[in-house]
Symmetry: C2
Subunit: 190 residues, 2 copies
């Protein structure tokens, strides 16, 4: 009798433990991460762990690049004076994503941009908040970032991604708009 009760409890426990995890599919996890990402501009003072910084950089460098030129360079900024000099928000971390004009000719903007989206998505997946703040093509902003980070001429800072632990839950924007879709020709319906 005792063994039977024990086994019943074990079976029930195993059943509920299993259901409690309700593992969703990888596909759903990926889509949810894309659809719930939002721009975060307000952060706690908590530093971002170096492992998380590396994870974001690994994701960035997994983005496709035109003709595999990898026309990018990433500057990790944690120095407070430099952070203040290059961005208008207060964050413990910024990653400045640059295009490398020596490697990429005219396609470095795309290389840097795709890497940046991977970084934004990965920040969200890691429980961080982030926002792309534009640098290129504003000449004054480019010069300021270039001077602060001592960038050589062949690197063009495309953006400053500011990153940290979000101070509040950000509002997700619903940008879905079927008017922005055409089928086969401009204005063509499904």
């Amino acid at each position: 009798m005792k063994t039977r009760s024990f086994l019943t409890v074990m079976a029930l426990l195993a059943f509920f433990a299993c259901n409690a995890q309700t593992p969703r599919s990888d596909k759903d996890a990926v889509l949810d991460n894309i659809l719930t990402r939002a721009s975060v501009r307000s952060f706690t003072s908590k530093a971002v762990e170096p492992e998380k910084v590396e994870t974001m950089l690994r994701s960035g460098m997994a983005a496709p690049t035109a003709m595999n030129k990898q026309a990018w360079h990433f500057v990790v900024v944690t120095d407070k004076t430099k952070l203040k000099a290059i961005q208008q928000y207060e964050s413990p971390l910024a990653i400045v994503v640059c295009g490398d004009t020596m490697k990429g000719k005219d396609l470095w903007i795309a290389d840097a941009s795709l890497a940046s989206e991977n970084i934004l998505l990965t920040a969200h997946a890691l429980g961080l908040g982030a926002v792309w703040t534009a640098v290129y093509p504003r000449e004054e902003t480019i010069q300021n970032v270039r001077k602060t980070l001592q960038l050589p001429d062949h690197l063009i800072p495309v953006n400053t991604i500011i990153i940290g632990y979000p101070a509040a839950d950000p509002q997700v924007k619903d940008k879905w708009n079927p008017e922005n879709i055409s089928y086969n020709t401009y204005g063509g319906k499904k």
Copy 2:
């Protein structure tokens, strides 16, 4: 005795069923999807389901846009003649991602690029293969796509993402290179 055996079997079954699922965290699913995505240029003839097309477009429009201008337009191409006219590979589907210069001034390239990376990642998550083929800034290619899809002047086709079910497992490129990272100043170490 019979009940006990039954319960033992159930407990074991529940245990193994649970482990078989080895639900990984959402974070791991997201990272894995980013790190295992590869460019696919060779496809089966199987059409891409309309629900999957919509899922990719929803992901595209979930990307951040400069000052929320959403300076983008998406042309879904399934017409065989048009597909042949705008791309050098054979795929059942292409999504041409355009920047809208009326909405985005100088930041439409970034808007279109970030949406494109979301589309590429979503294609991968859905079991599809895809590759970004560049249109902008090549004037001749732009004119060809513009003519084929009857795009108005304010839309600039940034790329043609060709999509389909992969004909073979693509090779993932390892682009991780710590030399592409600086800390606080160009060339600065961790």
